[in-house]
Each structure stands twice: as C-alpha cells, then as structure tokens.
Symmetry: C2
Subunit: 381 residues, 2 copies
C-alpha cells in the first residue's frame, strides 16, 4: 500500500432541513458578510433561496448575490465573482447549488486571496496559499466537491477545462439534504450516476497497486449508485434511495477510495473535459460516452481487475462482458454511450488536440499519444 | 437514512517511517513539553522509543514519561498520568502503543482539564469541555481509537469498563505505520481481527435502519480483515496485508460505517466489557467468544440481515450457516469461541450483574434483562 496522509476537515451536515442551519454554521466561524453563489433563478422559485436568506438573517449575516453560474462553469463568471467579492469585502463564500456552483465558489475563494489572475492557479503558475472559507448547500450529488479540495472550471477563451486543488479549498461546512435533490431532472440524475461511477473507476482500473480494501469500497459505491439510480427512476421521491445516492457520491471523491492507491490517473476525465470544453456537453453525459470506449481500449492492460469488475458488479465472467454490461446499463438508464448522442458527429483535429492538451495537464501524455487518443475516441463513434 | 453530522478532524499519517515525523507534527501544533505514554519497555528494546525521542529532540520538544500502561487500561494509571501531566505542566499527550495506551492518553488529556475526578466523565456526571491535544503512534491496529473520539478505561476498584466520548478527543495526528505492527504476537493479531469484526457488526445487525451502502462498507471491512489475517498468519512480514488490516481497522470505528445508521446498539461490547473487567481477558478474545453466542440469540430478530451476512461474507444460504462459518473461522485462526478457553468455567451472578450494569450504561437494559443475558452467556459455555 502506498503511503498517504489523510486529512479531511469538512463538516458534512447530512439530512432533512439541514440547510436551515447554514446561518448558524457561518456565524460560528465568524462570518458576517458573504458572497452567495448560485445558478439559475430556480432556487428562488422553489423556496430554497428564501429559506437560506432567512437563516442568514437570523444570524445577522448579510450577503451579496453572485447568480447565473452555469454547468461547466466558466472562468469569466469566476473573475466576475472575484471582483464582486473584493468590492464588497466579503469574509466567506456560500454556494447554493450543485458541483458547478460549488467549484466556482471555490475558485472565487482562492482567487480573492491571489494577487494575479485566477487562471494562473489552474495552470500551475501561481499557488493557493490561502482562500476565503467556503460553505455550501448541495442541490445535486455528483461531483463530490462538497468534501474535497478540488474545483474544475472551463476557460471559455482557450477551451481548457482544468482543475485546482488545495487544502484551503475543503468546504468548512457542506449541507447535504437529499430532499433538495428530489426535483432534479431525470437526465441529470443519470448523468450524475455516470459521474460518480467515473470517479470510482479511474483509480480502480489504472492503479499500479490497488489495495483490495479500496477495490471493495469502490464496488460498494458502484453497487449503491446503480441500485439507488434504478429506484429513483421509478420513484423520484424515495428519500432513502436519494440519500444513499448522495452519500455514495460524496465517498467517491473525498479521498477515501484513493488512499493507499499507487500510480493512478484520470484518463476518462482527461477525455471528457475536452468534450465539455468544446461542445459544452454535461460532464456526466460525456463520461458515460467515454467510459465504455476507454475501457475497451484499456482492459487488456489490467485484465485481472476488469474480470473482477465484471464478477463483483454484474456477476459475469469476463472483462468484455463487464464492459458490455456497464454500457448496457448506461443505455438502460438513458445516459448517452456514443458521441452522436452528444451531437458530435465528426472527430475533429481540434478535439484530439484538446484531449492531448489535457493529457499534458494530467501528466499522462506519454501514454495518451495522438494515436491512442484517436483509437479511444473512435471506439465512441 | 438517519440525519447525521460527519466531522473527523484527525490527520492520519499512514505508511513507512511515519513515526519519524512525530516531532514535526507536535511542533507544528505548538507543543514544547509533552507527556509520553507507553506500555511495556518493549518499545525501548525494539528501537521505536529511541526513534521517537530523536524526532522529539530534533524539534526541541521535551517529555515526561508515563510508561507501564497495561491492556484493559486502568483508572488508577489514568489518575497517575493526570497528576504527572499537571505537575509537569505538559501541553500535549503522545501515545506510543496500541488502543490501551491511546485510550489512557485520551482519558489523561480530558482529565487534566477537568476539575473533579476523571471517572465522573465516564459516569456522565461531568462533561468534557476541553482536553490537551492528543497525538499517537499506533503499534497495534484493533480499536480504531486512532481516528475516533472515544476511549475505554477499566475502573479496577468497581470492575466497571466504561467509555468516554468527546469531539475534543479526536487525535490531532495519528501515525499508522504497518511496519511497527509486524512483531505483534499471533494471539494479538487474531484477537484484533475479532475486535475489528465486532466493531463492524454491531450496527450492521442491530440497526432499525441500516443503509445498503453502510452494509456494503461493513462487508468490505470484514472481507478485508479476514483475508489479511489469513495472509499474516502465513507471513507476518507481508506489508500490504498488514497495511490493509490496519486501514480497515481504522475505518471500522471512525464513524464512517455508522453514519446514517439508525437505532443501533453495542450488545457484544456490553457483554465483553464485563469479561475484561472481571477476568482481565483480552478484549478481542472476549469478543470472539461473545459474538457467536449473541448472534445465535439475536438472529431471528433480523433474519434478513443475517442471511445477507451469510451470503456476502461466506457465500452461504442461511443465517445459521453464516454464524457457524464465523465461529469456525474464529476457531481456525485460533481466537477463543467458548468461555472455558478464557478460563471462565462458571457463570457467576457477579458476571451477570456486571453485564446488567453495562446494559444500563449502554442504554439497552430494557432488551438485555437478566434472563436474556443469562441465555446469551449460556450459549458461550
């Protein structure tokens, strides 16, 4: 097992009505004036916004709004948020939304304390030495951002979808109330399932050494996500299924399943980030297209683990059967598995170049050469 | 799923030679003069002690020794440690040892800051409002104390083995180096396996609502512990097996597998604590005797989960087969399954009374009446 240091300081407040305590959490940390980040005005219509405001007011906390954050959140919006935070001298950032809002909030929190342009932090030419404290109320479970130190943002000028990571970016408190997730669309539910599965399998398949315990945890997450997705497609109001889905989502990317894992990489994310950056496809939808293709290309390199996956997840015998079963399951729940379903009918040089740029950023360009990337992406046609 | 708040602030520094960084960890937190708790002089002979001292010295940290802490650690020794800590005005407590040393260190850390007698904290007549920061180097993986907020101590005057729990008792930094565990005896390895399995099954079987994800995590832990125990019995120097064992042990009682679990209790610990308090049996050895007996008594109350246990852990069909398989496995690895193996040939009224006292303390005396307790304990004859 690889040496590791586990530290995850986030308080996760999980359950019904927990969003009503957000003002209390902020006040406890000394916050008085915050930047309130959110996406569409939907949260104003469905009562969540007024519930949050009421909790802030009760605790004497004032706020500046930063709304309109979109999926595949943009650098432009992050820069806008940083300017707003500076002008108003806020002392914390609160995200009310899914992973896109939260990742924007994290980028803003880091950017406010950084003297140069925030994109430096994504390119590695600047470092995150501190950040405003981040709090969040999660309305979509998928990215795991609520209990980790990372954030992904798209630079819409350069079409780069890159990440930052810093111990300063763990949310102080994350509220996860499964009830807030019951109105998400069927599409976003199944995209989220694909996202969580992608987070789980990257290390599982690519590690040079994967502890058996970590494999078992990954399998626990995948089985739970598949089971709860199927339940939610039948009954979106199934609280326990929604809760299991959300809790498994958090565990998939909070560091737990990667602890002790050696020599792993994120090739599926590497490829998908190019699809999101260039075609603005939903991240999870991109991933459910990439995963079967990548698995078909990669499986002979770790055939034992692929056979294990087939056996443990689907009760099947061979690596090929396991991959086909996953692709079938994606088809069954209705998340795309082929590029044309994303509206991508031609594999352009720009797409391959973008993926190669990501391969460089992820530190795996030696494996993912132009030919290899073309081979994988062609399997997704 | 039950509402819960997850917060675990412990930094777990896991891997080879990590004990050499302990001085650095302490200095980073501002410690200058510490109480150094340990058990027997074995750590002085095997080089660990000098390695720790060297790290402390390098970081300008002085220390006062509190050695001689025994398994089933005693209140008397805790009181002695508190006096020593006060006389020497230490600013932190460092445990070098297994769960007994660490639990004593935690009790000392809480007791130093409490005006009355430390036993009040165990009886609930005093509260833990603060504690000295606790650090530890773990030399035996079993209790999970390295990443939780609890501590168990025996009052040798009253024969009560009780616990304290407080957010102030999470270790600041726990060092887990599997290499330090390779010299533990065969007996303590198998007792530890039983202890970890006991931590895992209490909620799994007794919960009124157990999320499927939590069940899967429990099964991941049990399978890993069984697999790595068997490997270690063949080759005690198998680093990866030792590491998986230790990491699974930490996860079994750091709060993870109990998050979202509703209405559970600790009946096996309730019974075992009486065996340890009265007969000073090793905790894990007591648990491997108690578990099969308790399971036989309890199984009809949650037959579905017992059938699941049989299926998932042993690939068997019925609850009864699963319980028998666990008992057989305990016999195979060489941890006791019957009271006479612990030297207990008569079931005295004192034993039953002690268990009933624990039932009261654990808040489950309505279920565990005199007749029930006698019934269970008779199944362990």
């Amino acid at each position: 097992m690889k040496d590791f240091t586990w530290l995850n300081p986030t308080t996760l407040d999980f359950g019904k009505n927990k969003e009503k305590k957000i003002g209390e959490h902020l006040a406890k940390q000394g916050s008085q004036h915050i930047l309130l980040c959110y996406g569409s005005d939907r949260i104003k219509r469905d009562g969540l916004f007024s519930s949050v405001i009421s909790s802030l007011e009760k605790n004497g906390i004032t706020f500046v709004e930063c709304g309109g954050i979109v999926s595949n959140p943009t650098l432009g919006k992050v820069r806008e948020g940083i300017a707003l935070a500076r002008q108003n001298n806020v002392d914390a950032v609160l995200s009310v939304g899914g992973g896109s809002v939260l990742d924007s909030a994290k980028a803003i929190a880091a950017g406010v304390r950084y003297q140069g342009d925030v994109w430096d932090l994504f390119m590695g030419s600047g470092s995150i030495d501190s950040a405003l404290p981040v709090f969040d109320i999660l309305t979509l479970a998928a990215t795991g951002s609520e209990m980790n130190s990372g954030a992904v943002v798209t630079n819409e000028e350069t079409n780069q979808k890159y990440a930052i990571n810093s111990v300063h970016l763990f949310p102080v408190v994350s509220v996860v109330n499964p009830d807030l997730m019951k109105t998400i669309t069927r599409d976003y539910l199944v995209y989220s399932a694909a996202d969580i599965i992608a987070h789980s399998i990257e290390g599982y398949f690519t590690a040079s050494h994967q502890p058996h315990f970590q494999s078992r945890m990954v399998e626990a997450i995948i089985k739970t996500v598949m089971e709860s997705t199927e339940k939610l497609l039948v009954d979106p109001s199934d609280y326990n299924a929604r809760a299991e889905f959300a809790w498994a989502s958090t565990q998939a990317l909070n560091g737990l399943i990667y602890s002790g894992t050696e020599g792993y990489s994120y090739p599926n994310h590497m490829i998908e980030h190019a699809l999101s950056a260039l075609f603005n496809v939903p991240h999870g939808a991109g991933l459910s297209v990439v995963m079967p293709a990548w698995m078909k290309w990669y499986q002979s390199r770790n055939s034992e683990q692929f056979a294990r996956f087939a056996r443990e997840i689907f009760g099947l015998d061979t690596a090929e059967q396991g991959i086909a079963a996953l692709e079938n399951w994606f088809n069954k729940i209705g998340t795309p598995t082929r590029l044309p379903q994303l509206g991508i009918n031609n594999i352009s040089a720009e797409l391959i170049d973008n993926i190669l740029g990501n391969a460089d950023w992820f530190g795996i360009k030696d494996i993912y050469t132009r030919d290899v990337v073309a081979d994988i992406i062609n399997k997704a046609k």
